[in-house]
């Protein structure tokens, strides 16, 4: 039997992590069907249909699904769940929000944040902020799974031509209402998918000083991250937080500046390919996982770092 993947999108385009979720779903079963629920989202349904790994698209268009309220979305997923053994979504704030509602309605125990698919019923997932990996076997007949997007390669985008089938909207409970969304607009790459991430912590001492971080990020075409301490202190907005309850990133290069390296932060970045730590405290735990550590005052080191980068003839993009 097949897998139903719930697409994340903004009614115009697919969100990047949906490609990762589709590739994870295809490791569970090759028959991947994708539900695109939204309002005026026909272009998204068409976009999904061109993904070679997708065998069928279920397209549901209704203003009820414009803002993906979980109270509205979950009943639609449940109604379409009959034919599927697995319901899959990304383990980000989109999937985490609605998937447990689906699982509860189906009386099935959800497996969250899967980083490896061993078979149709056995998965690996991190626990204790990634300080242990648990291999778990789901004995439910129908399985609700959220996958960690950064643990799976994105699916190829074009070349397919899946059939698009319209499905009807279902009644909504009308007890929750979307008011507004304040998205942080940035010209920089998205934190979750960037090749390079430059992150700042409490050591930056103020929001203004984050300019030292953003200058480097712009030079390297990198995304900007932050520790929870920096976000709590109001230096930078919450969508930059990397860690156990923030975002998990796996860039080629992660530069941690003024971040001591609490286990909750390490949970969000320790799978990065190359880790650089810049910290004036030589005993900071971040050095224990850094490939290159620089024990230095960041207020001296960062301007120097920028000027050294400016000396380079080429910088990879």
């Amino acid at each position: 039997m097949s897998v139903l993947l719930i697409a994340e999108h903004d009614n115009k385009n697919l969100k990047p992590f949906t490609f990762n979720a589709i590739s994870a779903a295809s490791k569970i079963d090759a028959e991947v069907h994708v539900l695109v629920a939204g309002s005026g989202c026909e272009s998204v349904a068409k976009e999904v249909a061109t993904i070679p790994l997708v065998k069928k698209v279920l397209h549901c268009d209704s203003s009820n699904y414009q803002n993906y309220l979980p109270e509205n979305l979950a009943p639609l997923v449940v109604k379409n769940a009959d034919k599927y053994d697995h319901i899959v979504a990304s383990a980000n704030t989109f999937g985490k929000n609605f998937m447990p509602r689906v699982a509860a309605a189906l009386d099935t125990s959800q497996v969250s944040d899967v980083i490896k698919v061993n078979s149709t019923d056995t998965f690996v997932r991190p626990i204790y902020a990634g300080n242990a990996f648990a291999t778990v076997k789901s004995n439910d007949k129908k399985r609700c799974i959220t996958i960690r997007p950064t643990s799976f390669e994105p699916a190829p985008k074009t070349g397919g031509s899946a059939q698009v089938e319209k499905v009807d909207a279902v009644d909504v409970p009308n007890f929750s209402k979307f008011v507004k969304r304040e998205e942080t607009k940035s010209e920089r790459p998205e934190l979750g998918t960037a090749r390079i991430v430059v992150s700042g912590g409490r050591g930056l001492e103020s929001g203004e000083n984050f300019k030292l971080i953003t200058d480097i990020a712009d030079k390297l075409n990198a995304a900007v991250g932050a520790s929870r301490a920096a976000v709590d202190a109001g230096y930078i907005s919450n969508d930059h937080q990397v860690g156990q309850t923030g975002k998990v990133v796996v860039p080629d290069l992660y530069i941690a500046v003024g971040i001591s390296g609490a286990i909750q932060h390490l949970a969000g970045m320790k799978e990065s390919k190359i880790i650089v730590a810049i910290n004036k405290d030589g005993e900071a735990p971040i050095f224990s996982i850094a490939d290159y550590g620089l024990e230095a005052d960041l207020f001296k080191a960062l301007p120097e770092f920028l000027s050294e980068l400016n000396k380079l003839n080429t910088i990879q993009k």
Partner: protein, 249 residues
């Protein structure tokens, strides 16, 4: 109005956990335990709403072994009025926990249920949403600001893209982010007073719900260790290593 707030006992967030050699789990003997951090935020918000006068009673509930009661005592010491301890000796999945909480909700009839957004041990992030679905209530997850109105709540939620504001009718389930508030410490006199506050006891198995686990834990292992790196002497060396050795810039 009345709030039910759920608290879980977990390994303290400062403890570096150790995986058991036989792969059966992690060491918990002689390990410091405390309330799951975002559950402290849930308790704090409940108590603040009571202090604002809009909420009359805050009931703290926990599910777990005998010692789980400590988390309810802590909630009582910072301002919850009474407690409920649902005894269970072994691990119960979020699905089972949500079923137990539903039973408690049916009995207590609160207007709101507050929980932490995620437990830092199993990192599931499911219980609040499951409970909301079972009760057919709306939910507000990852909440960083709560404004209580007469028949609804306006909530600011932390999402990947930034912030989202929603309005949910009461009754509702709220899962709390760490940035919702700053949990207070209990004063010694309040800790003493909390010892006199009642904690009702019940057993999970007597509640008539199916709490059998559906997901079998086959093994728990340490994640691959990172190789120790080097310290560089200065910024020039760092840039040179990144360019010529790691080849990432």
């Amino acid at each position: 109005m009345k709030i039910l707030v759920a608290v879980k006992r977990v390994i303290d967030y400062n403890v570096q956990i150790r995986v058991k050699e036989d792969g059966s789990g992690v060491h918990t003997d002689n390990v410091k335990m405390s309330t799951n951090p975002p559950d402290d935020n849930a308790v704090e918000e409940s108590v603040k709403l009571k202090e604002s006068g809009k909420v009359k009673e805050v009931v703290a509930v926990t599910i777990g072994e005998e010692k789980a009661q400590e988390t309810v005592r802590k909630a009582l010491a910072v301002g919850a009025d009474r407690g409920i301890h649902v005894k269970a000796d072994s691990y119960i999945e979020p699905l089972g926990i949500a079923k137990i909480l539903k039973k408690v909700v049916e009995k207590e009839k609160p207007d709101m249920v507050f929980l932490g957004k995620q437990a830092i041990d199993d990192d599931c992030n499911q219980t609040g949403q499951m409970l909301a679905a079972m009760l057919n209530w709306p939910q507000a997850t990852f909440s960083s600001k709560v404004s209580l109105k007469d028949k609804s709540m306006e909530i600011v939620r932390e999402i990947d893209e930034g912030l989202e504001t929603i309005e949910v009718n009461l009754p509702a389930v709220v899962t709390c982010d760490l940035r919702l508030n700053e949990p207070r410490y209990a004063s010694l006199p309040n800790i003493m007073k909390a010892k006199k506050k009642p904690i009702e006891q019940m057993a999970a198995k007597d509640l008539g719900v199916d709490i059998a686990n559906r997901v079998q834990q086959l093994k728990v292992e340490e994640p691959p260790k990172r190789k120790a790196g080097i310290k560089v002497a200065n910024v020039a060396e760092l840039v040179s290593k990144l360019k010529n050795e790691a080849k990432v810039i």
